[in-house]
């Protein structure tokens, strides 16, 4: 997904913009088709969830959302997403730097491996972790000996979230680093700024908007993760139940109000993140 977006930024910044005109005649038909399609496909479901939540009543919704289970689930989602985002930001930055500024045999393989989580179904991602840490897994004996639980526990869910959201920071930062080149870094270094200072004051400041965009993508992807944490976490109420797992259980229990209320909360958070992302992307293009 971010592949889709990364390639563009540098091109948009340099390419002459094509002429944008007001539609006339037959062009209006195209515009109407496009707008109707978007309205039916995106707008309809969005309005439906707002309507569905509203029709169940504000009071009932607030009651559902302030239940101990719901608050626990939201807390767990935020903790998992924040941890996964921090870890993926650090290692994503390192990988982006290595791919942009370093050269070695097998670099192409490293580059290809980064995208792999995009090609893996979340269910399969969870399953892989079961094969490593579940019954008769590769490392089950080791972690048992250390008395650590991974599967049906938080460590496994964190690993699943990290895996699923790992490509975003690399994919957003790498094209910006490549586009910037090394000239400024070289100058700073020649003038006596140390490696760390060069990185902080030149590199990091140049990539800040792209980095922010990548971080937000990572967080937003982690926030909505469902399949992988369902397989690994098992959705034990209050212990390994994230917001999405809460929704899934609420639907199973025929607790529609709870499911809609939590779905609406997640939709609102994602939508706000999207707005900040648009802002970051615009700045990232200007840089």
């Amino acid at each position: 997904m971010s592949q889709v977006e990364t390639g563009d930024k540098t091109q948009i910044a340099t390419a002459p913009r094509s002429r944008v005109v007001r539609p006339t005649g037959a062009a209006w038909i195209l515009v109407i088709i496009v707008v109707l399609y978007a309205a039916v496909l995106l707008g309809g479901p969005l309005l439906a969830i707002i309507w569905g939540a509203a029709s169940s009543g504000l009071k009932a919704m607030v009651r559902e959302l302030t239940s101990a289970e719901a608050i626990n689930a939201l807390k767990l989602t935020i903790i998992l997403s924040l941890s996964a985002t921090i870890i993926n930001t650090v290692f994503g930055l390192i990988l982006a730097l290595v791919l942009a500024r370093d050269d070695f045999k097998g670099k192409r393989i490293v580059n290809g491996l980064i995208d792999l989580p995009f090609a893996v179904s979340p269910v399969i991602a969870g399953f892989m972790l079961m094969l490593l840490f579940g019954r008769q897994g590769w490392f089950t004996a080791t972690i048992d000996a250390l008395n650590v639980r991974v599967v049906f526990a938080l460590p496994g869910m964190l690993l699943a979230t990290i895996f699923i959201s790992s490509p975003f920071v690399v994919r957003e930062v790498l094209p910006v680093l490549r586009h910037l080149g090394e000239d400024q870094e070289k100058v700073a270094y020649t003038m006596g700024a140390g490696y760390w200072r060069t990185f902080r004051q030149i590199t990091l400041s140049n990539i800040r908007w792209g980095l922010l965009y990548g971080i937000l993508l990572t967080f937003s992807r982690a926030l909505g993760e469902f399949g992988a944490v369902l397989v690994v976490g098992g959705g034990v109420t209050r212990l390994t139940e994230t917001s999405t797992l809460f929704i899934y259980r609420a639907l199973d229990d025929r607790n529609e109000v709870g499911a809609y209320a939590m779905a609406l909360i997640l939709a609102i958070i994602s939508f706000s993140l999207l707005l900040v992302m648009e802002y970051a992307r615009k700045h990232s293009r200007k840089d």
């Binding site: 002429r19 062009a27 995009f118 979340p122 969870g126 399953f127 490593l132 909505g224 999405t244 639907l251």
Partner: protein, 277 residues
């Protein structure tokens, strides 16, 4: 690119390289190896036996079929949307442009719930459609609809930047020489954006193969009818049949991996054409 960057000291370069590679090894290569080892442990014939299981086979077929239908619709509508967004300014065009990425932001499980609220058999619209013999939820159209929502941005976001780059003087020349707008589009514009369309369509296809959250809610998951491959895998894991889960996982993974390689190849070719001409 020079092998030695002044911004990174030799020990720092080695350090970063080792940290990055070890991290990828732990977080990606290791889980992948476990899956491949598990899936191929009992040999290829055992793998085929699992795939030949009628329910598994029907699930794979359904996943491929719905992904193909989605990709065709997505290709046409995505290209059209990108074209309209790049060439025309109209009331709401900026808003539409910023809403394109919405499906990336919304959790897929929430997408599933939205569709059930809108098209569910007990809902106004759903009941109206059902009275006319159209069942969306717990049926295959629901799966395609969910896939269309989830993959909406792919073709648009790959085609848009390429369309922006195109030199419009060629189109204008064709136009001045008397070619109709249709002919101009099909003979000048379309060939230039075909690799981008293909890339977007393939990426959306690969994404659709693995979709779980929205489908598990929307499809009803009836074996041989609306049970897709990822939901089948989930069911096998739940019922402790790791062998069945492993076999179908390997097949899905191989498919999406092949698609990603193909996308890489398309993009590389596009890059080369760019340089040479």
């Amino acid at each position: 690119m020079p092998a030695s960057s002044p911004a990174i000291r030799p020990w720092g370069r080695w350090g970063l390289r080792v940290v990055g590679i070890v991290w990828l090894g732990l977080i990606i290569v290791l889980p992948l190896s476990a899956l491949l080892e598990h899936g191929l442990h009992d040999g290829v014939s055992a793998l085929f036996r699992e795939i030949a299981n009628p329910i598994a086979f029907a699930a794979l077929k359904l996943t491929l079929l719905t992904a193909v239908v989605m990709a065709v619709i997505n290709t046409v509508m995505g290209t059209l949307t990108a074209y309209v967004l790049v060439r025309y300014r109209f009331f709401g065009s900026k808003l539409l442009n910023s809403l394109i990425d919405l499906p990336f932001a919304i959790p897929t499980l929430v997408t599933g719930i939205m569709l059930v609220v809108l098209y569910g058999p007990q809902r106004t619209l759903g009941a109206w459609l059902a009275a006319r013999g159209i069942q969306v939820i717990f049926a295959q159209p629901g799966i395609v609809l969910a896939l269309l929502f989830v993959t909406y941005p792919f073709v648009i976001r790959t085609v848009q930047p390429v369309l922006m780059e195109i030199d419009q003087s060629q189109e204008e020349a064709a136009w001045t020489l008397g070619a109709s707008p249709w002919r101009t589009f099909f003979e000048i514009t379309l060939p230039a954006i075909t690799p981008a369309i293909l890339t977007g369509a393939l990426l959306s296809f690969a994404r659709a193969l693995g979709e779980f959250g929205s489908i598990v809610i929307v499809a009803g998951n009836i074996p041989r009818s609306t049970l897709t491959a990822p939901v089948y895998i989930f069911g096998q894991i739940e019922s402790q049949n790791q062998r069945g889960a492993g076999a179908i996982s390997v097949v899905l993974l191989a498919l999406s991996f092949a698609l990603m390689l193909f996308v890489d190849w398309v993009q590389e070719r596009r890059g080369k054409n760019h340089v040479s001409g």
